[in-house]
C-alpha cells in the first residue's frame, strides 16, 4: 500500500473511532489499536504509540471545553494523578518485557470490559460514608446545578488511589487512556458525582498519557508517519462527536459500539493466544 492510500484509510478509520468514542464517552483510542493491528497489519507497539498520542489530543481538546463549565475538580485530579502517572511509567516500562501476544490478550480483556460497561452503564454510588481523609486533603467540592452550586463529599480515598494506580498501569502498558476505569474509580468507589468524575477523568487522561509518552518516545513506539493520520483523525472525529446532541440515538449507538468493541476483544484475544501478533 502506498503512503498516501494508507494515510487516507487510517485517517478515515480514526475519525470514525473518535466520533463514536466521544459520543459514547469511551474514548476513541481503545478501538484504534485493534483496528490498526488486526485489519491493517500494523505492529502492536507502533499502534500503541500512535493511539497514545491521539489520546492526549482528544483529552486536552475536550478538557479545554469542560474546564470552563466548572465541573472538573482540580484537587481530586492532581491528587489522583500521583498514582496514575507512577502507574503509567511502570506500565510503559513493562512493555519492554511483556511479550506482544500477552499484551494482545490483556488488551482484549480490557476491550471486553469496555464493551460490558458500554452495554451496562455504571450505576450510582453504593452509599459509602464520606472519608475523613478526603476532608483533610480538601478533596470535597461542588459543581453547578440548576439552583446554585451542589456540594459533594468524597468517600474511600485510598481505594480510589489504588485503582488509579491500576488505571495508570494499564494506560502505560497498552497505550490507552483507560478513562472508563478512572470514571469507575471516582464515580463508584469515591462517590464523586458522575459529571464531575467524567470531566476530571478527561483532564487526568492527558496527564497520564504524557507520563507514558516519555518512555514510548525512548523505545521508538511513536512512529511519526503513522501517528500523524491517527492523531488528526481521532481529533477531528471527536470534535464533531462532541458537537452532536445527546439524543435517543445514543442508546442505539452505545449498543452498536458495544458489539463492535466486543468483537474486536474476541479477535484480539484469539490473535494473542494463537500467536498471530508478535
Amino acid at each position: 500500500m502506498s503512503a498516501l492510500e494508507f494515510s487516507v484509510i487510517v485517517f478515515a478509520v480514526s475519525a470514525v473511532a473518535g466520533f463514536l468514542g466521544s459520543l459514547t464517552g469511551l474514548g476513541g483510542g481503545v478501538v484504534v489499536t485493534p483496528v490498526l493491528t488486526l485489519m491493517l497489519g500494523v505492529d502492536l507497539h507502533y499502534a500503541m504509540g500512535a493511539t497514545l498520542v491521539s489520546v492526549i489530543a482528544t483529552s486536552s481538546g475536550a478538557a479545554a471545553a469542560y474546564v470552563r463549565e466548572g465541573f472538573s475538580n482540580l484537587r481530586v485530579g492532581m491528587f489522583l494523578e500521583i498514582a496514575t502517572t507512577v502507574g503509567a511509567v511502570a506500565g510503559a516500562h513493562l512493555t519492554r518485557v511483556v511479550p506482544a501476544s500477552a499484551l494482545a490478550v490483556i488488551f482484549g480483556l480490557v476491550l471486553a470490559y469496555s464493551a460490558w460497561v458500554s452495554w451496562h452503564p455504571p450505576k450510582e454510588g453504593d452509599g459509602s460514608a464520606p472519608d475523613p481523609l478526603a476532608a483533610r486533603l480538601k478533596l470535597d467540592g461542588d459543581y453547578p446545578g440548576p439552583r446554585g452550586r451542589i456540594h459533594y463529599r468524597v468517600a474511600r480515598v485510598k481505594a480510589g488511589l489504588s485503582m488509579m494506580f491500576g488505571a495508570g498501569l494499564l494506560s502505560g502498558l497498552l497505550g490507552i487512556g483507560s478513562g472508563a476505569m478512572k470514571v469507575i474509580a471516582m464515580d463508584r468507589f469515591m462517590r464523586i458525582p458522575f459529571k464531575v468524575s467524567t470531566t476530571t477523568s478527561n483532564f487526568m487522561i492527558g496527564v497520564t498519557a504524557a507520563a507514558s509518552a516519555g518512555v514510548y518516545l525512548s523505545r521508538g513506539y511513536i512512529q511519526p508517519a503513522l501517528a500523524m493520520p491517527v492523531m488528526l483523525g481521532v481529533l477531528a472525529g471527536s470534535l464533531v462527536g462532541a458537537r452532536q446532541l445527546m439524543g435517543a440515538r445514543t442508546r442505539v449507538l452505545r449498543a452498536v459500539f458495544a458489539v463492535v468493541v466486543g468483537l474486536l476483544a474476541l479477535e484480539m484475544i484469539y490473535n494473542g493466544l494463537s500467536g498471530g501478533l508478535r
Binding site: 503512503a3 489530543a57 478538557a63 516519555g214 518512555v215 514510548y216 521508538g220 511519526p224
Partner: protein
C-alpha cells in the same frame, strides 16, 4: 487571579496547545505525503530504536516536523500541570504545591528518559 479567571486561562492554554500541535502535525503530514506519498509503507515489523527520540536527526525532515508537532502535544498536559503548580503556590496551598510537584517530577522524569 480568581478561580474563574484561572479556569478560563487553563482552557485557553489547552486549546492553544492542541491547535498548535495539530497545525504542525498537519503541515508535516502534507509535506510528508507530498514528498513520500507514492512510496510503499510497511508497519508490520517493529524496528527497536529506529524512531526513538534520540534518533530524530536520522529521520527525513517531514517526519521530524510531525514529531515536533507530537512533542508540542505531549507538552500541553505537562504545561497544564506546571500552571496548576503556580496557581497552588499563589494560593499558599502547601499540600497541593507538594502533590503537584510530585506529579511534575514524574512527568519530567519520564520525558527526561525519552532521550536515553
Amino acid at each position: 487571579m480568581t478561580d474563574r479567571e484561572l479556569e478560563l486561562t487553563v482552557g485557553k492554554l489547552l486549546r492553544t496547545g492542541v491547535s498548535l500541535a495539530a497545525a504542525v502535525v498537519l503541515a508535516g503530514g502534507v509535506w510528508y505525503l507530498a514528498t513520500n506519498g507514492a512510496a510503499q509503507v510497511d508497519y508490520r515489523h517493529f524496528t527497536p530504536g529506529m524512531h526513538r527520540l534520540l534518533a530524530i536527526g536520522t529521520l527525513p525532515p517531514a517526519e521530524v516536523a510531525i514529531q515536533i508537532g507530537l512533542l508540542l502535544l505531549i507538552a500541553t498536559p505537562i504545561a497544564r500541570v506546571a500552571f496548576a503548580l503556580v496557581a497552588f503556590a499563589l494560593e499558599h496551598d502547601r499540600l497541593y504545591v507538594f502533590f503537584t510537584l510530585a506529579v511534575l517530577v514524574v512527568l519530567l522524569f519520564s520525558i527526561g528518559t525519552s532521550w536515553l
